[in-house]
């Protein structure tokens, strides 16, 4: 479980997260929505220790992410992350993209790493693209490659930062389908998204962020059907 208490994050004097309390249980799918600049990406970066924090704490399975004694490289193996920009490694084939971290981080043999990579690439529907370089793949395929690459570390949590925002509209579906598949398989997921349909259908809970504050969190029926916060109402009326 991911446990966040009193989390504050500043960039210089700009306080981007103003005291966040949030739990994400094993097997849960949480969608995070909110206007651009409200701190959603920063929250994900804090969770896997890519950004330092100024106050409060984040625990992943009882390990404090920002504790000096925490081995973040080890912790990150539990936390897969998929970014808005596809971030394929352009100099590696699809297979090598996925096999790299299992080999050099998890110290698998080359053979084993490739087996894992093949399995995960098939998992996301790229089983026929093993030897393709990223520049020959579509945006949707590259994003699925990124998902496979994260899954190859056998993470217990997946963090998605607007995984579909940079995609052409016709490519969004294939990536959302892949995310849906993971949710069905029981993966614990935090999905920052602008896809309200996905948030509504797939998530167990939805969190609405407003200017660095977790304004409202609850089941989709509450957030979309009967939001208690005025800010939430206003935001949702604009997105529809």
């Amino acid at each position: 479980m991911i446990k966040i208490r009193g989390l504050k994050k500043r960039f210089g004097t700009n306080e981007v997260l103003k005291g966040i309390d949030l739990d994400v249980k094993k097997g849960e799918v949480l969608s995070v929505i909110g206007a651009s600049g409200s701190g959603k990406s920063t929250l994900l970066y804090c969770i896997n220790g890519l950004e330092p924090i100024q106050d409060g704490y984040i625990e992943v399975d009882d390990t404090r992410v920002h504790d000096r004694n925490t081995n973040v490289n080890l912790l990150r193996q539990k936390l897969g992350m998929v970014f808005q920009q596809w971030n394929s490694f352009p100099h590696l084939t699809a297979l090598e993209n996925v096999a790299l971290a299992p080999r050099i981080v998890r110290k698998k043999s080359k053979r084993e790493a490739q087996e894992i990579a093949k399995k995960q690439l098939s998992h996301v529907g790229l089983g026929d693209k093993l030897d393709a370089y990223p520049n020959s793949l579509s945006g949707g395929q590259q994003q699925r490659l990124a998902i496979a690459r994260a899954l190859a570390m056998e993470p217990e949590y997946m963090l998605f930062d607007e995984a579909t925002s940079a995609l052409d509209p016709e490519l969004v579906g294939e990536v959302l389908d892949t995310m849906r598949l993971l949710a069905d398989e029981g993966m614990t997921m935090i999905c920052v998204t602008h896809e309200m349909g996905f948030a509504k259908d797939v998530s167990d809970r939805v969190a609405y962020f407003h200017q660095g504050i977790l304004e409202e969190v609850g089941p989709p029926s509450q957030i979309f059907g009967n939001p208690t916060s005025e800010h939430t109402k206003k935001f949702l009326s604009k997105t529809r």
Binding site: Q77, Q85, N87, N135
Partner: protein, 221 residues
């Protein structure tokens, strides 16, 4: 025109010239390899180093790029000589060329590193890779592609620049040519042939470089 061309002495000296050409090739190859390593260290020092290291890197780069290469050679030859430190001609040329290569390559590398999106680092780190692993496995190969052609040019430049060696008494290709030319006074003939040898060396380097690039960067667009 009453100058008569005499090529025969040049042809007789060819084996010696070829041998000297190998020395040219050896010293420029060494200086470019050392220059690559030092250039990378300088680039990273300038970008991320603590201030003394950064100041050193900036000073090195500025002087290497903005003063004549010949003066840099003279510094390692006569300049250090004034302080009682006498280097062999070979070392003067090797150190001088390396100094110059490193300064130029540092800026090339810095540009290359900056051209790789920061998000690539985040992606690597999010997979649990260490900063070093991200650099060697993800950033460096991409930088290599970006800097490959400037690096090849620098190599060519090093080959040509090594001819300055003759001015500090080093018998690389130009020094050797000068030696024969002054012995026989067939100055034009010797230097014409030597120019041709330089030309062929450079063309070979460019050809091989193209071949390597074609093999190594198939992933690029």
């Amino acid at each position: 025109m009453d100058y008569n061309f005499h090529w025969r002495p040049v042809f007789r000296a060819l084996p010696d010239l070829f041998e000297a050409a190998l020395i040219t090739l050896e010293i420029s190859t060494l200086s470019i390899l050392l220059g690559i390593v030092l250039g990378m260290v300088l680039a990273i020092s300038k970008m991320k180093g603590p201030w003394p290291l950064r100041a050193l890197a900036i000073g090195w780069i500025e002087i290497a790029r903005n003063t004549p290469a010949l003066f840099q050679l003279f510094f390692f030859g006569f300049g250090l000589g004034a302080f009682g430190l006498h280097l062999s001609p070979y070392m003067i040329v090797l150190i001088g060329l390396t100094y110059n290569n490193a300064g130029y390559l540092a800026e090339t590398f810095r540009g290359g590193i900056n051209a790789v999106p920061e998000t690539q680092v985040k992606a690597g780190r999010s997979l649990g890779m260490t900063a070093t692993q991200v650099f060697t496995r993800i950033i460096a190969p991409q930088v290599l592609k970006i800097v490959y052609h400037p690096m090849t040019n620098q190599f060519v430049w090093a080959v040509l620049m090594s001819s300055l060696g003759m001015l500090v008494g080093f018998r690389e290709l130009s020094g050797e040519t000068q030696f024969f030319a002054s012995k026989t006074f067939r100055i034009f003939e010797y230097f014409a042939v030597t120019a041709l040898i330089y030309y062929v060396i450079v063309k070979i380097i460019l050809g091989v470089s193209k071949l390597i690039a074609w093999r190594a960067f198939r992933w690029g667009n």
